[in-house]
Amino acid sequence: MLVQQLINGLTLGSVYALIALGYTMVYGIIELINFAHGEIYMLGAYMGIITFGLLTTLHLTFPTSGAALLIMMVMAMLFCGACGITIERLAYRPLRGASRLAPLISALGVSIFLQNFVMLAQGPRDKGFPHLFAGEGIDLFGSRISAIQMFIMATSVLMMAALQLLVHRTKIGKAMRATAQDMQMASLVGIDVDRVISATFLIGSALAGVAGIMVGMYYGLINFFIGYIAGIKAFTAAVLGGIGNIPGAMLGGLLLGLIEALGAGYISSEYKDVFAFAILVLVLIFRPSGLLGKDISRRV
């Protein structure tokens, strides 16, 4: 039972971590809590279904469903990345330099718009997500870790490792860190700050898109509202780890997943969502800088 809960917790947690990365990277650079980020994740899930539908209507057959899944993930990443860049351009960039509140309200507006747009375009009902995994999974200490769970954890770890490499080893990654620390100074060394911000939205949104596909596969059903709860949970994970801190978002996501799974298993599964909010409130009261964050009061 404990091992099973841990497995479930790590699975969900790695998805929270992927979404939390987008919150934390954007906050790290422009100090905006991008409330529309959960909706990007929801768009990723829908893009998965749409791509699968296209592949089917085109009668494209693949030797394995893995190939179809790969195409779905790539499409979701591209589409969500493009959405992220567009949203920043249209809804946040014109408000840069305005009060801190204006872009927050704009983000809420984008979030509401996207939810309603998808509800009208795709319908308000749950949609079934294609079954792409027939794998058995393996037994582990008397518990079962399914093929989907393994896939989700492996993909998340891979994505996070790739992100770490990008941020620490590449020129654009270093420019992102420099911009997050001192945006004016970044332009003084010749960094095109607008491009760095676009890249940040692109990467964060692409990760959320992948998360959308994975959760769609995991639960088998999606609807236009899934971004709301997932968004709040991922935001909680980002705050728990220390908003603005990339390893913090990974840690926060995994911890939140574990806490939820253990809470659901040992206390009550009906209170599952309550744990996330309780943690959010507790962290904000007792340690607003999060587990790995530095003194946040200086920045706010």
Partner: protein, 234 residues
């Protein structure tokens, strides 16, 4: 090379620059002195494109910089050692220097300049894998200068590079400024240490309340009664 023509600029309601005109010729060291709040840093920020003038012109090598984004101004050959150093504290020393060369391509020439900077400031070579934030104040100043040099500027803007440094460090910094200049780099130097600054500059400007109130050859400014009284301690 650089000319400011009656430049006015604001921070919101604050009228920080009220008609600044000055000129830096190729290969010159020009110094800009003035009391706190006179607008010296604002002048440099205007040249770097981070404070946009609402009147007047800033012309670099024949081109008006009004529409040039600040990152592209670096590409054109102007880099800055800003007031307060502003090194990237969570990047390593080496990464800070790499960011200085952000606009450049050509691994070889970047490596050459890196070696040159390490030659000027050997302590930076020793500390290259350390986080910028762990350096001492003097070392951070060296890093800020090294970072600006990595852009291989033709015009270097320096904002109070000697501020808060021990006399020994001040000597080093001024010696390095001289060396950078002998390489052909023009320098616009803002300094509190007016004596040192005027001694290495060929021309000087005195700023007060957003205006240039005096300009002359550095040697003449050194013996100017008003300048002596206000900035050279009598």
């Amino acid at each position: 090379m650089l000319r400011l023509d009656d430049v006015h600029a604001h921070y919101g309601m604050i009228h920080a620059l009220r008609g600044v005109s000055l000129e830096v010729k190729k290969g010159q060291i020009v110094c800009l002195i003035g009391a706190n709040g006179a607008g010296k840093s604002s002048t440099l920020m205007a040249v770097s494109g981070l404070l946009r003038p609402n009147a007047g012109r800033i012309v670099f090598e024949g081109d008006d910089l009004a529409e040039v984004p600040s990152h592209a101004i670096v590409e054109r050959g102007i880099s800055q050692v800003p007031e307060g150093r502003r090194i990237f504290s969570k990047l390593t020393v080496l990464e800070n220097l790499e960011m200085g060369a952000y606009t450049r391509t050509g691994e070889d020439s970047i490596r050459q300049d890196l070696d040159w900077v390490f030659g000027l400031f050997p302590i930076l070579a020793e500390r290259r894998f350390q986080m910028g934030g762990t350096l001492s104040g003097g070392e951070q100043q060296m890093l800020a200068i090294g970072r600006a040099l990595m852009a291989r500027p033709r015009l270097l803007l320096m904002d109070e590079p000697s501020l808060g440094l021990a006399p020994k460090f001040v000597e080093t910094i001024f010696e390095v400024i001289r060396q950078i200049n002998t390489r052909g780099t023009a320098i616009l130097l803002v300094e509190q240490n007016a004596h040192m600054a005027l001694s290495i500059a060929s021309r000087g400007y005195v700023m007060e309340a957003g205006r240039i109130v005096l300009e002359d050859d550095a040697t003449s400014l050194m013996v100017n009664k008003d300048v002596q009284k206000a900035y050279l301690g009598g």
